[in-house]
Amino acid sequence: MATTTVTPAVPGRRRRASLARREARWAYLFLAPWIVGFLAFTAGPMIASLWLSFTEYDVINSPRFTGLDNYRQLMSDPQVARSLGNTVYYTALHVPLVMAISLGLALLLKRVGRLSGFFRTVFYLPVMTPAVAVGILFLLLLNTQDGLINRGLALVGIDGPSWTTDPDWVMPGIVLMSLWSLGSTVIIYLAALQGVPRDLYEAAQLDGAGAWARFRHVTLPMISGALFFTLIVNTIASLQMFTEVYTMYFGNRQTAGSFSSDAASFYVIHLFREAFQFLHMGFASAMAWLLFLIILVITLVQVKLGNRFVYYEGEDR
């Protein structure tokens, strides 16, 4: 099919059609790596993992079809429930906190002019730190007796909790750690804020809008796209939290003492251990598909709700 808009004179038409065909051939040649990769490393594995989720498979013996057994087990497994509960709890704390603090920092950055470059760098440096190093660092910063955080709390008269050993405080400790790496969100918000046309503020001011009214009715709607984007991206990422927490509480270390690693179990960590430590590849595949469904549903709900506020309303919740 020729897609050119100009209709050529009759003799040229056939040449153009063959040109278009040749162009399409080249187009697919350019796309070929992605298409091959998509089939081999995305679509193929998706089908394979869906099939594996109905089997029992330990890599050594060939998969044995077990119907819905894995899914039934999934629903009644307390460790799966615990890790999913932890993950949702973490996400529910992490995402709103990251968004609120990042927005606050971005609003400040926008107001200090040229100085903002320096502070932006400071806020982004933690993002550059390898996640394993972040896990190690916070394992020690959150140390009950000697950690910097509890020492700081002691300065203001607070007796800090046992962040790394008390099951009730493990998750808040992890959330605290996660907030250190919010730099990307700050940069996204700052870029969005800088894109708000100045005359909107001037017009609002001429109409007598106060600072809060300008924020509520100009700033928020104008950056709602960025808010929406970070809501979705941060949610998807935090539902898949792995490296920092795995570093801190899992692996070959003996989880010594009173602490049970269940309190720090995240969904993807549990999935990973099922797959590669216990070689329950079928069960882990079922876990992966449940996660996919959860992420899909949450994202669809967010998109649905998002369409209501993005560009029209200033409220994101």
């Binding site: 107001r111 100085l115 190093a133 809008a209 003996q254």
Partner: protein
């Protein structure tokens, strides 16, 4: 527009309603000096909070073992030989070298293949283009856990488990985020420019290599530094694919160091901390070299998404 002035909520920007008049070009111009000082002070406080963990890390990594958890941030007493001990205790140089090799391979593969594919999406008009591009974007949402196991089985079947190949070879097929990013840049190039070259007899690969590729160099650097950082900090793939310690990348090695020297019973935290600094410093240097590209990449992703 609301004309009622509501009381500012906590955390909201407090600015007095100044009389409408000529507004200066700069946003700061309208604010009284004391307010700007307040903003800067708030940012300084936040910056201190964000920097303290780094300061503590470096300070503690330079203290003798029994002083690692001592109060204070400064490296006193001073024990720089922690670094030598970490360096000697584990094959840190090998891991550093592996991380560089794998990182460069992963970044180069992702950048080149994504650029090639992105040019296809940007330049050509062909049936199914929007559908395919939608598919590219959709893959960004797929949790890695879904494809993790079959992908492992593929590399296992190919006999490449316990080699570094699975750590970068998957990048040869283009990566959704970079395809998206680079396509934006290719779309901004004027089409007539390429059509003129076509008339002069240039083939499509030439259009890509000789013209488009050099023109989007800043965007290529964005993709390269992002993927290099992603590879450098990744623990999941080395955890799945590498058994032989000589093949480890730094994060994988660092995890071993933590398990062996930290909680593994020896409690040599000064070694763990020194190794953590060694793993982090290259990323900090990379950021200062390529700060512009990181910021641009994040801002573009956020704006367009």
């Amino acid at each position: 527009m609301t004309t009622t002035s509501q009381p500012p909520a906590a955390g909201a920007v407090v600015a007095p309603v100044t009389a409408p008049g000529p507004v200066r070009q700069d946003d700061d111009g309208r604010r009284p000096r004391w307010q700007r000082v307040l903003f800067v002070l708030a940012l300084v406080a936040a910056a201190v909070v964000f920097l303290l963990p780094f300061v503590w890390l470096v300070g503690a990594s330079l203290r003798p073992r029994e002083y690692v958890f001592a109060p204070g941030l400064l490296p006193t007493p001073f024990a720089p030989d922690n670094y030598a001990r970490a360096w000697d205790a584990m094959p840190l140089f090998t891991w550093l070298f592996n991380s560089v090799v794998v990182g460069v391979a992963a970044a180069a593969a992702a950048t080149l293949s994504s650029a090639w594919v992105a040019f296809g999406f940007a330049y050509f008009r062909f049936p199914g283009r929007n559908l395919l591009f939608g598919l590219v974007l959709a893959t960004m949402m797929l949790p890695f856990a879904v494809t993790m196991i079959p992908t492992y089985l593929i590399w296992n079947r190919l006999g490449l488990v316990d080699t570094q190949v699975p750590l970068w070879a998957g990048n040869l097929f283009g990566s959704a985020f970079y395809i998206f990013l680079l396509r934006q840049f290719f779309l901004s190039l004027p089409r007539e420019y390429f059509e003129a070259a076509r008339v002069d007899g240039a083939g499509y690969p030439q259009l890509f290599w000789r013209m488009a590729f050099p023109l989007v160099r800043p965007a290529l650097l964005v993709a390269f530094v992002f993927e290099f950082k992603a590879s450098w900090t990744d623990l999941v793939k080395p955890l799945i694919y590498l058994r032989n310690e000589q093949l480890y990348t730094l994060p994988r090695g660092l995890k071993v160091i933590l398990d062996r020297f930290g909680y593994g019973g020896e409690q040599q935290w000064e070694v763990v901390l020194a190794a953590s600094v060694i793993a982090t410093v290259p990323m900090i240097i990379l950021f200062f070299l390529a700060q512009r590209h990181f910021v641009e990449g994040i801002a573009t992703g956020g704006r367009k998404g």
